[in-house]
């Protein structure tokens, strides 16, 4: 047994409203640069739909993931080492920019420079790839919420695998959203496909990263990843991928996509696993056994033998404690409601999903049934084969039994809690019918519905006992910006050559102090206080929320609508919190 720790995520799809906040904040944080305009480390797909890039799940075409050889071993579906090296000069299975979409901007300049004329000038779309005018025909979410109807949904490779009847009925039956990031697999096929060895799995937390200094742009990883979550930066010629926001996770705060998720549907925590068992589990013969095989790799952090072994492997105490509190462990192993995405790719993905029950509930409600009743829900889960078959293609390689079991548990929780909400006595038979106790159902309900920030994100900080705050001191050159005399930006050998502009590893406490701080930025000028409205609970008036009032005797009668005039109030007055006493 070789115990390793893995940072993992679970997403509760019932809660996803498809608002794309995760995608947008992720893009702002990581891929808001030239060369990666088309890159979405996090994207939200509508199912049924083609996904991003289009039809990426069709591995017969794109050749991602692993295949089991006749001798029971694994090799990348796109070919072994020699075949990879022979096709290195032109990767035959690389998605082209058209399989993503051609990024564009608008010719805003024209709005200002157009001569006066009869018609209002328009900003025409202009390709960011060729620089020419273009017609927009596809984009990252062109088929959002089933836009395009059957025409685009018919291109869904998953839909092609379920029956014809299902295919026709499907779009009418239901739709859900699937947010996707890199899976940070236990058995990453992108890393296996990288000729340079630039893609590595971090030994401490299992995050899969691309070493930008060692990547040589051979593009094999793009093919190797079955989730197509490695992207090629066409300006720098390097591969880029979701980093699990490692600078944030290292200091104990969740990824940007989780932090900003409106539905609070993401959970982050540690999983301990046996690294020696991964290869065997990933190579089990039947694809439908892969879900159970992956579960068998996880180690119970409450088991003293595992804890002892983890200590021997050098996993710090606080990490073991975090693994014991991990919401991921609870959702995957204790409540058994989370399922892996496409286990049949044999990469052992570590971003798992709680399949959505809401489509079933919607159908029930639409047909006039009581959608909260356990009997109705159980019946519907069994009868509505369409969603179950589709979900099974996504999460269990087509085996409907685990999906049905999960949906029944979610249905049981719904019915059980309804009785409690209505003040009726809890019905233990509902819990028993899905093999749980009432107490377990309540715990699961708590975790799924009302868990607070620090229960959803149990992230131990990385152990770098060092003065991280120094990173943010002004150690860089202030002239080092794009086009500046400090030679930032484009280097002499193409886009972004030369040394890095470092990512500031923000010291969490320094950041928090600054956000919550109510001290003045400039003590000499009290009008420039720093107030973080996000931390304001609406009660009272924190000092500095409004500019200081003029010291006039009529102050108490002043109406709130009457803004106080600019006046240099003294800092002492501000510090005494004089505006607050009137509230």
């Amino acid at each position: 047994m070789r115990v390793m720790a893995q940072m993992a995520m679970v997403m509760n799809l019932d809660k996803c409203i498809g608002c794309h906040t995760c995608s947008v904040t992720c893009k702002q944080a990581w891929t808001n640069r030239s060369g990666v305009e088309y890159v979405w480390f996090n994207n939200v797909e509508t199912r049924p739909g083609q996904g991003y890039p289009r039809t990426y799940q069709d591995q017969a075409t794109w050749q991602g993931g692993w295949v089991r050889t006749r001798r029971g071993r694994l090799k990348p579906r796109s070919g072994g080492r020699i075949k990879r090296l022979l096709s290195i000069f032109a990767n035959p299975k690389l998605p082209s920019i058209r399989d993503y979409y051609e990024p564009w901007t608008y010719e805003y300049e024209h709005l200002l420079t157009a001569p006066a004329g009869e018609h209002t000038p328009v900003a025409r779309p202009r390709s960011l790839i060729s620089g020419r005018d273009m017609t927009i025909t596809w984009s990252a979410n062109w088929d959002d919420s089933l836009a395009g109807g059957n025409e685009t949904a018919a291109g869904d490779p998953i839909l092609a695998r379920v029956s014809e009847r299902v295919r026709q009925e499907y779009a009418k039956a239901f739709m859900f959203f699937l947010p996707r990031i890199c899976e940070h697999c236990l058995n990453p096929s992108c890393a296996a496909a990288c000729p340079s060895g630039a893609i590595y799995k971090r030994a401490e937390d299992g995050i899969v990263l691309v070493d930008q200094d060692r990547c040589r742009g051979w593009r094999m990883c793009v093919t190797g990843c079955p989730y197509k979550k490695i992207y090629f930066n066409h300006r720098t010629g390097k591969a880029e991928k979701c980093t699990f926001c490692f600078p944030r996770v290292e200091i104990g705060i969740p990824t940007v996509c989780s932090e900003t998720c409106v539905g609070r549907l993401r959970y982050i925590g540690l999983m301990l696993y046996d690294a020696d068992a991964v290869a065997r589990a990933a190579a089990v013969e039947n694809e439908t056994d892969l879900y159970e095989a992956q579960r068998s790799v996880f180690l119970d952090p409450h088991d003293p033998a595992v804890v002892a072994e983890a200590q021997r492997s050098g996993i710090p105490e606080d990490w073991i404690a975090a693994a014991q509190r991990s919401p991921i462990w609870d959702l995957i192993m204790r409540y058994e409601v989370a399922l892996p995405l496409h286990p049949e790719y044999r990469t052992m993905p570590m971003v798992w999903y709680i399949p959505p029950l809401s489509p079933v509930v919607d159908v029930l409600r639409d047909t006039g049934h009581d959608a909260e009743d356990a009997g109705n829900l159980f019946g519907a889960v069994d009868a509505l084969r369409i969603p179950v078959e589709y979900l099974a293609q996504l999460f269990t390689a087509g085996d409907t039994a685990p999906v049905t079991a999960v949906l029944r548990r979610l249905a049981a929780m719904r019915a059980y809690q309804r009785r409690i909400n209505l003040g009726e006595p809890p019905d233990e038979s509902i819990a028993a019918s899905v093999g749980m106790t009432g107490e377990q159902i309540q715990d699961m309900y708590r975790l799924l519905a009302i868990a607070k920030y620090d229960e959803r994100y149990v992230i131990p900080a990385a152990h770098a006992e060092t003065a991280q705050g120094l990173e943010e001191l002004a150690t860089g050159c202030s002239l080092d910006y794009e086009g500046g005399p400090g030679m930032g930006g484009t280097g002499p050998f193409g886009e972004s050559s030369g040394r890095y502009a470092p990512i500031a590893v923000e010291n969490f406490r320094a950041l928090a102090d600054r956000q919550r701080g109510e001290t003045f930025v400039d003590p000499a000028d009290p009008s420039r206080a720093r107030i973080n409205l996000l931390n304001w609970d609406g009660k009272g008036r924190p000092a500095g929320l409004f500019p200081p009032r003029p010291p006039s005797p009529r102050r108490p009668e002043e109406s709130p609508g009457n803004p106080p005039k600019e006046s240099p109030g003294s800092p002492e007055e501000k510090a005494s919190g004089s505006p607050e006493e009137k509230q």
């Binding site: 082209s96 990453p188 799995k201 742009g217 060092t466 972004s496």
Partner: protein
């Protein structure tokens, strides 16, 4: 004049080549890439790129054998000058033509496909001129020597001179007698070597042969310092009990 062309230029070129590579590797690991344009255009690349690259690899092997292996060695193992020459001319011309055609396809693609042309830097264009002239001059010299005359045995002149560069006792006089075509080819090649470290051609030195022997999945420990900046002297991190470095 001979000393300048056949002693000073080659040594200068080699110094710039080696020094430039070391400097670039230290200064610009991030810029060290193939800068592939396959994302923009794939159909033409699939023909042109393998044709060029496999051709140029064969050409490289031919040059290594022709320049570094002394004539006496091949004769010692029983390969006569005539049969060597036939083989070299035949294989060399085939490989050279592959390279040339591949390069022509790639250059045409680079000029004609909008996005690829937009991603072409001035450095790239200069590189294509130098690389193209080396290949064309080499092919011309070979074809002319063999089509007009009965071949030119460069292994009597160019090869000993080339090897003598590495013994540090170069003999420029031999090169003065070599036909002009070969002279130009050699000089262009040294210009290319001097230019090499400063172009995208550096990717040739990251040919991933290690892939054949390494395990599929690479594990690495977290960098000991936070962020991406190397720690400055005096700000090195305090080792934290060697945590996790042994865990594999």
């Amino acid at each position: 004049m001979n000393t300048v062309l056949w002693v000073i230029v080659p040594y200068l070129s080699i110094v710039v080549f080696v020094g430039g590579l070391i400097w670039r590797h230290r200064y610009d690991k991030f810029g060290w890439t193939t800068r592939s344009s396959q994302l923009y255009e794939s159909a033409v690349l699939r023909w042109g790129s393998p044709l060029f690259h496999f051709g140029v690899l064969l050409v490289l092997i031919g040059h290594v054998v022709g320049l570094l292996v002394p004539k006496s060695w091949t004769e010692a193992v029983g390969i006569s000058e005539h049969s060597y020459h036939l083989m070299a001319v035949f294989l060399g011309t085939v490989a050279g033509m592959c390279t040339l055609i591949g390069m022509a396809i790639l250059i045409a693609r680079r000029r004609l496909v909008g996005p690829v042309f937009a991603a072409t830097t001035r450095n790239d264009k200069a590189m294509y001129v130098v690389l193209g002239s080396v290949i064309v001059l080499g092919l011309l010299a070979t074809v002319r020597a063999n089509a007009l005359g009965d071949g030119y045995d460069y292994r009597e002149t160019v090869s000993p001179w080339f090897r003598s560069l590495f013994y540090l006792s170069p003999d420029p006089e031999v090169m003065a007698e070599v036909p002009l075509g070969f002279q130009l080819h050699v000089l262009a090649a040294f210009v290319l070597f001097a230019f090499w470290p400063f172009t995208r051609l550096v990717h040739a030195f990251s040919a991933p042969v290690g892939y054949l022997t390494r395990p599929y999945v690479v594990y690495r420990s977290r960098d000991p310092h936070p962020g991406l900046r190397a720690p400055r002297p005096g700000w090195d991190t305090i080792p934290s009990s060697g945590r996790r470095t042994a865990a594999r």
